[in-house]
């Protein structure tokens, strides 16, 4: 498998009132093409900052970062932000088409792609609605469609389901996997939820509390397509959950 993202000794520090705050420190990681990664860690461990550095929204303080860009005609990455990241002044349709419009994709092609993802995310009845008219779950469906429609090589997701209620979260996790399994982009997904990480990912990177370092890396060896209910019943899921929680618990308490 080809390496997609190679991180070497990456660190980031901020200055807050003359004090140096280390967001994350000495991260070394290789992410292969088509893998689904979850970064899990206690609040304030710098996982969001790490993601923003990977997405080129912030610059690291030291270390190096290599991301392979295979097709220069496609965007390298698209980010799905937490919430309130849709443009309130654009309709659902225009939000989803935003990335494509910026790249001057031909109009009929935009139409085709956007309509395709609107159908896949079940937004057909809401194309002309504005974000404030939608529920939280619907808004995140728009965000997912917006990112997939942009057709990037890598998807970064910053706790996209954190503000949803549990029932909607489960449904959106399933929908996300369905869409993802049909095109297998490289994904880095940030979450607090161990459940979510196990259900979604191939690899889980556990981070220590501040300053964020890699604590351990787990593989989730469950074939796809995955069935959430079956997975939850399995001993494997529970064992992995317990292992991760016991490790994470110390970090949460330490902070």
């Amino acid at each position: 498998m080809n390496v997609k993202i190679k991180i070497n000794g990456l660190s980031k520090q901020f200055k807050v009132k003359d004090k140096n705050v280390i967001a994350f420190q000495n991260i070394n990681l290789s992410i292969n093409e088509g893998e689904f990664w979850c970064f899990v860690g206690p609040s304030g461990c710098g996982k969001t900052t790490l993601l923003r550095v990977l997405a080129d929204l912030e610059v690291p303080s030291s270390g190096s970062l290599e991301i392979m860009h295979n097709d220069i005609n496609k965007p390298l990455n698209s980010m799905i932000f937490q919430e309130h990241a849709l443009f309130p002044w654009m309709t659902v349709w225009d939000n989803i088409a935003y990335g494509l419009k910026n790249r001057n994709v031909p109009k009929n092609e935009i139409k085709e792609v956007v309509n395709d993802f609107i159908t896949k995310t079940g937004l057909n009845d809401f194309t002309k609605a504005y974000p404030h008219q939608l529920s939280g779950g619907m808004r995140q469906r728009v965000s997912i469609a917006m990112a997939f429609a942009n057709d990037p090589e890598i998807l970064f997701m910053d706790e996209p389901f954190a503000s949803l209620d549990e029932q909607n979260r489960i449904i959106l996790q399933q929908e996300l996997l369905q869409i993802w399994e049909s095109n297998k982009k490289t994904v880095v997904f940030i979450t607090h939820s161990i459940d979510e990480a196990i259900y979604l990912s191939d690899k889980i990177m556990l981070m220590t509390s501040q300053p964020g370092k890699i604590k351990s890396i787990y593989s989730v060896d469950v074939p796809r397509p995955r069935n959430m209910t079956e997975m939850r019943k399995s001993a494997y899921f529970n064992e992995l959950f317990t292992k991760i929680w016991l490790e994470l618990k110390d970090e949460v308490k330490r902070y």
Binding site: S78, H84, A85, F87, W89, Y98, G99, N102, Y130, N150
Partner: protein, 273 residues
């Protein structure tokens, strides 16, 4: 064994009365009409009974009669037309540069750094204090009156536009960058629409200021206009005519606000009410 002693202490009954939304709505709309009407009736009565000096507070019926006289003689409509042109001309003369300068300041930090001290130094100068200077510069012309109004409008539109662009949530910048927006694309599809609600706040405040300044600017060197009429009526002690002008001003304010509200709803359909 336990015995549970159950006693009914109180039965709460909630009768649903007046809970009908339609009832409340119609009651409220009746009340909105009734309250000013009540004041007018009381006003009329206490003037009629001589408890209020009718020289200073002419009875509402007297004001209405005066208004019809003014309409018949054509004075009122001419005044209205002249003032409207001045207000609208002055408003546009202030709002358009305010919008353009405000957007540039909001989008380009260097422009804001250069302009901020100039804006901050000139804004607090009362517009009425500069009026004599404007009269010297532009003479007692229509344009001079528009400039006075424009000066009041420009700052309000400008400062609100800057605030609208600068205070735009940072996440929109992240999304725009991440989704490959060009600089121009960012200005047109993010910064401008994002600032629109604040721009409209500025326009509404500017319109209010324009109504305020029209009266002042028509005080000198005018022979027509609602503001002029107020001063003219004052000098010949024609109080009912003054009151007619007050009503016209209040009506203008109401209509302009309603108009801007309507435009706002069309241009900003996504605004949460």
């Amino acid at each position: 064994m336990q015995t549970v002693d159950k006693k009914i202490l109180k039965i709460e009954t909630r009768t649903i009365e007046n809970n009908n939304k339609r009832y409340i709505d119609s009651r409220n709309s009746i009340l909105t009409v009734l309250s000013p009407l009540a004041i007018l009736i009381v006003w009329e009565l206490i003037v009629k009974f001589g408890m209020l000096d009718s020289r200073f507070f002419p009875a509402p019926t007297k004001i209405i009669v005066t208004m019809f006289d003014m309409i018949k003689s054509g004075v009122l409509l001419t005044d209205l037309k002249v003032s409207l042109i001045r207000i609208l001309g002055g408003f546009l003369l202030g709002a358009i540069p305010g919008l353009i300068i405000g957007l540039t300041m909001g989008l380009f930090p260097i422009v804001k750094i250069i302009m901020d001290p100039i804006v901050n130094a000139t804004y607090p100068i009362p517009k009425l204090a500069i009026m004599p200077l404007i009269m010297i510069l532009f003479g007692l012309t229509e344009f001079e009156k528009m400039v006075v109004i424009a000066l009041g409008t420009v700052f309000l539109v400008l400062m609100n536009t800057v605030a609208g662009v600068v205070n735009l949530d940072k996440i929109y910048m992240d999304v725009a960058k991440n989704y490959g927006a060009s600089k121009k694309g960012y200005y047109l599809t993010v910064a401008l629409p994002g600032a629109l609600p604040m721009i409209f706040t500025g326009l509404k405040l500017g319109m209010g200021m324009a109504l305020l300044l029209i009266v002042a600017s028509e005080m000198n060197g005018a022979s027509q206009g609602i503001g002029y009429r107020i001063w003219a009526s004052y000098s010949i002690f024609n109080i009912p005519e003054m009151f007619v002008c007050f009503i016209i001003m209040s009506l203008l304010g109401y209509l302009f606000t309603a108009f801007l509200d309507k435009v706002e709803r069309i241009i900003i359909p996504w605004k949460q009410v």
